[in-house]
Structures are given as C-alpha cells and as structure tokens.
C-alpha cells in the first residue's frame, strides 16, 4: 500500500472545445480540483500530455501551466508516455509524495486535439508507435488496434459483432455522464455496419479523440485524513513497459506490460481481481478492452470478449468497466485520459457518481495504456 491519498479532483467535459486553449483547459480542471480540496497552493505539478508539441506547437507545459494557474515558482514538469501520459503523471506524483520530498502534488492531464483537424491528428497519434518501423509504413494507432483485432478474431474464432458489447456498454454509461463526448446510446446492430477506420476497426469501435483536462491532488495519507472528508487511498501503483512495436512481441495478443503493472499494483494493494468492484480500463479500441480484462486476470486468454457478451461489464455486472463511458463514449483526450479515469474512480468510491454510480464500490482499479500497450500504468484506489 502507498501512503498517498487523493484529496481533490476536477475535470472539464471532453469535447471539441474550439473556443478554449490548452492553458485554459488545464486551468479549468486545476481550478475544480483546488476547489474540491479547498486549498490554493501545491508544491509540485505534473502535467500529462502527449501532443501539444505537435498539434499546438507548445512544449514546456510544466512552466506554462504552473504560470497560468497562479502557481508560478513551483516545481513543474511535463510527463509523456503517449496516451498513458496522464496515468504516468499520477505515478510520478505518487513517487514524489511517497518519498517525502513533495508534500502536496497536483496532477493535470490535458490534451488539445482541435488546434488541428483530420490527418495531422492521425499522424500525431501515430507518434506513439515506432516512427521508423511502424508509422513510416503508414500504420496508425487505429491500425495497430486493427492488427490485434483481426488476429484475435482469427485465433479465438470470434467475429466483429462479438465485440459490440463493449461499445454498447460504454455508450450506455456515457449517456448518463454529462461530461461525456458522446451521450447517444448505441445499438449492437449498428456496430457491425459502421464505416471503417482501419478494418476491422470501425467508427463505433474506436474511441474518439477530444479536447479535455482532468486534475487530481495528492498528499500523504495521514495528512489527507485532516484535509478531506473523503480521502481516496492509492492502495497500489505500478508502471511496466513492453516492446514499443507490436511486431517485436512474442505473442502480440498478450499485453505483457498490462499484466505486469496490474499484478504489481494488486500485490501492493493486497487485493485480487475478485476484490475489485470496478475497472476503468483503456478501451481505445474494443479489442484493447478484451485484452486488458485478460491481462489483468478477469478472463482467460481469448475469453475477455465473453464478459461483454454475457453482460458482465455493466454497472451491475461482475466487473463494471467504462462506468462513465470509457474512452469510447466519454472520449479519449490522449494524455489527459489517464487522469479522467482516476477522477471517475474517485467519484465512484466517494459515492458521487450520480447516474453512473456502481453500487457499493469500495475498490477500483484504473489502467491506462500507451500506444498498443507498450506502457501500462495501473492504480488501485480504495476508501
């Protein structure tokens, strides 16, 4: 168990925020988290971001955001690990607070996609892959998901429509989340007919890129008891990596980093999959939801999709996932996604998830993946 707890959370809606700059997005989430924690100062800021250098020609977000948020002078740095940037930023804050060198750490995940449109965004997202040996051959993030999905279908004898349950569940939950990018319900029949992005991945299979920012504030757990009426304990925290390129993995259908980070985090927390009440996983593509459930020990290899088919991933199912819509319906704001996942699980454990509430949620697991699972960071939260 770590000695770190969450005392403040906040986020913006995920959307195409045409009228909002990256600094404003970050500030709105920080302002909400500071208000929630009822504090005005922090000692360090960790910014999770993937694409600002490419899409907004803006690096150096640590200094920018600290300055713009009225925190000028504090320690501040950007953390980048593709779309795991947000979760990895929290990991850095946990290390800092656990060490005792930082008292109050602020994490903000922020992504501004819509400073550009279309193919530049697709190209920017592909920089999470191997530039020389994947992206130069035209592979995209969705393409990598598609290669996994096609192989999964081949090895385990499943069809495209067998993945529909993941998107249907995500949209059903997103419909209840006012901050979600897509609040429409999705019919399973529509899933298989959706237009292709990278076959067999379609528009209703892939998570949409959106703008957004989410923030959390962490302090030492003893201090948290005095500062917050409902501190959320970080019971486990672990990060693992795999080969960057999919083609270098002995078995591409096994997310080794996801398995290692989940096992380490669960061991640290002293829990097993049976103890976990909900699992916010990285459903950038439906096949990643299936593979994440398998890697974390909720299903045998090749059987992750059956949890969706059997209705076990809903809010009243065996292992609720994507409870606020997941990446698929809440939206996937790149480097901010991992912090959204933390904010959402904290709301579940506080009992503040409103229409999205999972009954009696006590222990929540969060896993944020970068690229096709080359980085995996897992946190276990509890009350």
């Amino acid at each position: 168990m770590t000695n770190v707890s969450i005392i403040g959370i906040g986020c913006t809606a995920v959307n195409e925020h045409w009228d909002t700059s990256i600094r404003h997005l970050a500030w709105y989430a920080i302002e909400a988290a500071l208000d929630d924690a009822d504090i005005s100062k922090v000692d360090a800021l960790y910014v999770g971001n993937m694409l600002a250098g490419q899409l907004s020609q803006q690096n150096h977000l640590g200094a920018l955001v600290a300055d713009f948020a009225g925190l000028r002078g504090i320690e501040a740095v950007t953390v980048e690990a593709a779309d795991a940037s947000g979760g990895v930023a929290l990991r850095q804050a946990v290390l800092a607070v656990q060490s005792g060198l930082v008292e109050t750490a602020l994490v903000v995940g922020v992504e501004k996609m819509t400073d550009q449109t279309g193919s530049p965004i697709t190209a920017a997202l592909a920089t999470g892959l191997d530039a020389d040996y994947e992206a130069m051959h035209g592979l995209t993030a969705a393409g990598a998901g598609a290669l996994l999905m096609r192989r999964y279908m081949h090895e385990y004898g499943v069809s495209v429509s067998d993945f529909a349950g993941f998107s249907v569940n995500a949209h059903a939950n997103g419909a209840d989340n006012p901050l979600a990018m897509f609040r429409n319900r999705l019919k399973a029949e529509a899933f298989a007919k959706a237009s292709p992005i990278a076959t067999p991945v379609s528009l209703f299979d892939a998570a949409p890129a959106g703008d957004g920012a989410a923030a959390v504030i962490v302090v030492n757990s003893e201090k948290a008891m005095d500062m917050s009426p409902q501190p959320i304990r970080i019971l486990g925290s672990a990060l693992a990596t795999d080969t960057l390129a999919l083609h270098d993995r002995k078995n591409p259908l096994w997310l080794g980093a996801a398995e290692r980070s989940a096992q380490k985090a669960m061991a640290m927390a002293g829990v097993t999959p049976d103890d976990v009440d909900l699992f916010e996983l990285h459903d950038a593509f439906t096949v990643l939801a299936a593979l994440s459930l398998e890697a974390a020990g909720f299903a045998a290899p090749g059987a992750g999709w059956q949890l969706a088919r059997d209705g076990q991933i809903g809010r009243d199912g065996r292992i609720p996932i994507s409870t606020f819509g997941g990446l698929k319906a809440r939206g996937n704001p790149g480097g901010a996604t991992g912090v959204y996942q933390i904010v959402e699980v904290a709301r579940q454990l506080r009992g503040q998830a409103e229409a999205c509430q999972v009954p009696d949620a006590k222990i929540g697991m969060v896993q944020n993946l970068g690229g096709a699972g080359a980085t995996a960071v897992t946190h276990i939260l509890g009350v």
């Binding site: 530049p120 051959h137 035209g138 592979l139 995209t140 290669l147 990278a198 076959t199 591409p252």
Partner: protein, 136 residues
C-alpha cells in the same frame, strides 16, 4: 526534409538487413544491437530472404498526414520465415484476396512522397509470392 533519417535506414528499407545474436542465434529485424531474447550484444548483420506469411492485416481508411493520397491502403504484420515479424504494407493485391497465413515476398516500392517537390521514400512492401517454388 528528413533526408538523413531515411538515408541511414537504406540497408533495412531496401534489403531487410537485420542481425543475428552471437549468443542465442536468434535473428532480429529491425536490428537492435541488444538481443530481444537474451539481451546479449547482437551486432552480426544478417540479410533476410524476404519470404514470409501474413500474421495479421488491416486496410487503413483514416490515413495520417503524408499518406492521404494512398488511402485506403493495407498494412500487415508479416512473419518472416526466419522468425521475426515485420510491419509493412501489402501491395499488388486487393483486400479480399488477403488472408492470415498468405505467403508473401518482399518488394521495393514507394513508401511515401512529400508533395510534388518533396523527397520520395522507398522501402519494403510485401506482395503475394510469384512462384510456388519460392515457398518451402
């Protein structure tokens, strides 16, 4: 212009030059100097035959900048006969001809063009094997 980053990969792009691990004997592509299997130094060059089979494939409709003109195009994981899997485009075939396990061979093709005046990058793609004799 990113001339140097393409120039320095010419042995890989045009000839599939990878490496053999001195310690465990595994063949490596792309070359990585430290063996993927045993972490020993792997610096002996090895030129792959370019024969393999399709391990998985996708046809990309939502293309990144630089590839819009080619879309839709197909990218595969090709399992080379020496063992490694390589990411490359499939060419000289329609999507409905592709299948997992399809025997393919390496050819040199245009990977991308940076506009009318820009650099043309060549490299490996894979097509159906032309002669059955080529397949073991």
């Amino acid at each position: 212009m990113e001339v140097s980053r393409h120039w320095r990969l010419q042995e890989q792009r045009y000839k599939l030059v990878g490496e053999t691990c001195d310690n465990c004997g595994v063949k490596l592509f792309p070359p990585r100097d430290v063996c993927l299997e045993c972490a020993a130094p792997a610096k002996e060059l090895y030129t792959f035959t370019g024969l393999g089979e399709v391990y998985s494939y996708t046809t990309i409709y939502d293309a990144p900048a630089g590839f819009e003109q080619q879309a839709p195009y197909s990218v595969a994981l090709v399992k080379l006969e020496e063992g490694p899997i390589v990411t490359a485009q499939l060419t000289d075939m329609d999507e409905d001809e592709m299948y997992i396990g399809m025997p393919v061979e390496m050819v040199t093709r245009k990977l991308r063009t940076d506009g009318d005046e820009g650099m043309i990058v060549y490299g490996y793609k894979f097509r159906p094997v032309q002669f059955e004799m080529a397949v073991k």
